[in-house]
């Protein structure tokens, strides 16, 4: 029991820290109105009379919800969304460690349905195919699924390339060499979007900047992620982005005097001398909308939320490491993306095999971005 209480204190601390990070990141960028928690605006008018006590949410995650990575980011986002809507915390039912296979997903789905949940959140893109087949069994239970658009499911995804653009931009501003690194996990579309976003950001800072990518071929492996970072550092690379789940990359950077952008959650605490800031998944604004639509019956399986801005968030800057002027420039770029002045996937855009992806003056469609199969021209490495 003691452990549980302890864990809940920690969780509460983490949530406060994360929401503080979200707020302060926005407050310095004074013109971005959406950065004050969208919760307060949406919660106030429409949800006033709603009785949330019977609204239950179930989430299915692939690892434990305090994994220090992806699942933790999702879990905290749901809790934040619930908090701002006024849904009691105990209405969230979690089934974790569900592997991405049919039998396990069906079992988790059944367990949640029998608990009477109104909304199921599938927090790993690998569940899409299976949940899509299961959804018609209980049309009353709304399912929101992370990843690409899928039949029968409300889809949600974050424009991670926006936050990654900022990451690459910051690294390029600070790096003296013309090569940045990127420690990537597995070659999935969202990971490629992260690499490309990072590379395009770097290019925006300096057209000469290149990004060397190395693949771990694993979603979580402390050893291999250490080796990825080490390999990049051996190339003389001092600044790198990452799309890896363990703190191995930041810690290896710290041990070798290199720097990186944390990923998933704010990683500053894990390697205070290496993490400039972190790319943080903030699903809370999306979840608020989905929960609200599920509650008032307007949810439709065709809904698709593909959001950037505050969802594709960055944490507070590590002020010890990131100079003031860089901070300002990064926040300016964040604004420019929000206002549409910078189009991350705007033309002309070529891949690193020389093919033109987007002609000058055009912008890539969301469909193409979500399922992208290329690496942009300043990335060194293959995606297959």
């Amino acid at each position: 029991m003691k452990n549980k209480r302890f864990a809940s204190i920690l969780l509460a601390l983490a949530i406060t820290a994360a929401s503080l990070a979200g707020c302060s990141g926005g407050s310095s960028a004074n013109s971005a109105p959406a950065s004050t928690p969208a919760a307060e605006q949406s919660a106030a008018p429409s949800e006033q009379g709603t009785d949330w006590s019977n609204f239950k949410i179930g989430q299915i995650t692939s690892l434990v919800v305090n994994d220090g990575g992806w699942c933790q980011a999702t879990n905290q986002s749901i809790l934040r969304a619930m908090q701002s809507l006024g849904i009691p915390e105990e209405n969230l039912i979690t089934i974790e460690n569900v592997s991405e296979e049919q039998v396990a997903v069906e079992n988790a789905y059944n367990a949640l349905v029998s608990e009477g949940v109104n909304l199921i959140i599938g927090a790993s893109s690998g569940y899409a195919a299976f949940l899509s087949d299961l959804a018609p069994q209980n049309p009353d239970v709304i399912i929101a699924q992370q990843g690409a658009r899928t039949e029968n499911l409300i889809g949600y995804q974050i424009r991670n390339y926006e936050g990654m653009f900022l990451a690459g931009y910051a690294c390029a501003l600070m790096s003296e060499s013309k090569t940045l690194g990127f420690a990537a996990s597995m070659s999935e579309a969202s990971v490629r979007a992260a690499i490309n976003g990072f590379a395009l950001g770097a290019k925006y800072a300096d057209p000469e900047e290149k990004v060397q990518v190395v693949w771990a071929n694993s979603w979580y492996d402390v050893d291999i992620e250490t080796q990825s970072a080490q390999t990049l550092i051996n190339q003389g690379i001092k600044y790198m982005g990452m799309e890896a789940s363990s703190p191995a990359v930041p810690q290896t950077c710290e041990a070798n005097g290199a720097y990186c952008i944390g990923y998933n959650v704010d990683m500053e605490e894990l390697a205070p001398k290496a993490v400039l800031f972190s790319y943080v998944w903030n699903f809370a604004p999306i979840f608020e909308k989905i929960i609200a639509s599920a509650a008032d019956g307007t949810a439709n399986p065709d809904d698709y939320y593909y959001e950037g801005g505050d969802s594709s968030a960055i944490s507070d800057f590590n002020s010890e490491l990131v100079p003031e002027d860089v901070q300002k420039k990064v926040l300016q770029v964040k604004e420019d993306i929000a206002s549409g002045k910078i189009k991350v996937y705007g033309g002309e855009l070529k891949d690193n095999k020389g093919n033109v992806l987007v002609a000058a003056g055009e912008t890539m469609s969301d469909e193409q971005i979500v399922a992208q199969e290329f690496l942009v021209d300043n990335v060194i490495g293959d995606w297959q």
Binding site: N3, K4, F6, A7, L10, L63, V64, N66, D67, G68, G69, Q72, N97, S187, Q212, V214, W215, N217, S218, Y220, D221, V222, D223, I224, T226, Q227, S228, Q230, T231, I233, N234, Q235, S246, P247, A248, Q251, A255, E269, L270, I380, G381, D382, Q384
Partner: protein, 309 residues
């Protein structure tokens, strides 16, 4: 280029040490005639108990001690099953694998994803770390690595040059003869199994408190199996096990570098390299085309039963 080589070598050593504790422990256990297939499970229990202790007490030495004690307790159970109850060792190993991975996740659930305040940091040894190249590779490491520098020669000396070492070797070859000579086979096997499991648990600490200062379910990621494979590969010889571990770690890191120097090959090929190399080295070193005699303890996996002597 030298910087690259230095760093690859240093990283290979860190990798090697994290599996070597387990491999050396398993060598002692198998030399005594008891095989433990559940290395991975014991390693995870070591990792989680060490992490929990470090997290709550802020002391890495206590963490190390906690892992050793956890390992010893598991070893005691393992010895009870395999020595006293004479159970099948493959089965017991699998049971420990399942039990260890399940229980470690179960008790470590609440500290997942949180950093521990202490870890085994790299310490540069005075003078020695000044030697060019060698200093950077060998003497700019963490405490657990330095301990391993002592453990390898000591265990070699113990196994091959001392009287208890000789008894240990016959324990796995011909326990009946020892029994006749008035040596307590059961007690000795208990001792070595407990020692072995403690060492395996220290390997877990290498991962949760030296590689990073983090705990996550199943974070050993198959290292236990690698350690287990090293034992037979090394012909139950700690020095050879060290070489094998360096080889595996080195190839894995070189493979990562190959992604940069030799692009165009699917990166999965490089990821598979260490396993392919292990298979090749294992065949070459243990295949019977090479020699007639193997070092494998003759009584490995055989329970000793006084009545059927």
């Amino acid at each position: 280029m030298t910087a690259l080589i230095t760093s690859v070598c240093a990283a290979a050593i860190v990798y090697a040490v994290s599996v070597l504790y387990a491999a050396v422990g398993e060598i002692f256990s198998q030399r005594a005639g008891i095989m433990n297939l559940g290395v991975e499970g014991v390693m995870l229990m070591g990792a989680v108990s060490g992490f929990l202790t470090a997290y709550y007490t802020n002391s890495k030495m206590l963490a190390l001690l906690a892992a050793i004690v956890t390992g010893a307790l598991l070893g005691l159970i393992y010895a009870f099953l395999t020595v006293t109850l004479q159970a099948d060792q493959t089965v017991c190993g699998m049971a420990f694998l399942t039990f260890g991975s399940g229980l470690s996740g179960f008790i470590g659930k609440n500290v997942t994803g949180i950093a521990s305040p202490v870890k085994f940091d790299k310490i540069a040894l005075p003078l020695l770390s000044q030697i060019p190249f060698i200093g950077d590779v060998l003497f700019h490491q963490n405490l657990l690595v330095y301990l391993m520098y002592l453990i390898i020669p000591l265990s070699m000396f113990y196994i091959y040059r001392t009287r208890p070492g000789m008894i240990l070797r016959s324990l796995g070859e011909n326990p009946a003869a020892l029994d006749t000579a008035g040596i307590n086979v059961f007690a000795l096997r208990y001792a070595y199994v407990i020692f072995g499991c403690s060492m395996i648990a220290v390997s877990g600490v290498c991962i949760s408190l030296a590689y990073t200062n983090f705990w996550n379910e199943g974070m050993t990621g198959g290292k236990g199996w690698i350690a287990f494979s090293l034992v037979a590969f090394s012909e139950w010889n700690p020095t050879k096990a060290a070489l094998g571990a360096l080889l595996f770690g080195g190839i894995s890191i070189v493979g990562m570098n190959m992604q940069i120097y030799l692009p165009g090959v699917p990166s999965q090929v490089y990821s598979a390299l260490p396993y392919l190399a292990t298979v090749a080295a294992f065949i070459l070193s243990t295949g019977s085309f090479r020699k007639k005699h193997t070092e494998e303890p003759a009584a490995l996996c055989c329970s000793y039963d006084r009545e059927s002597r």
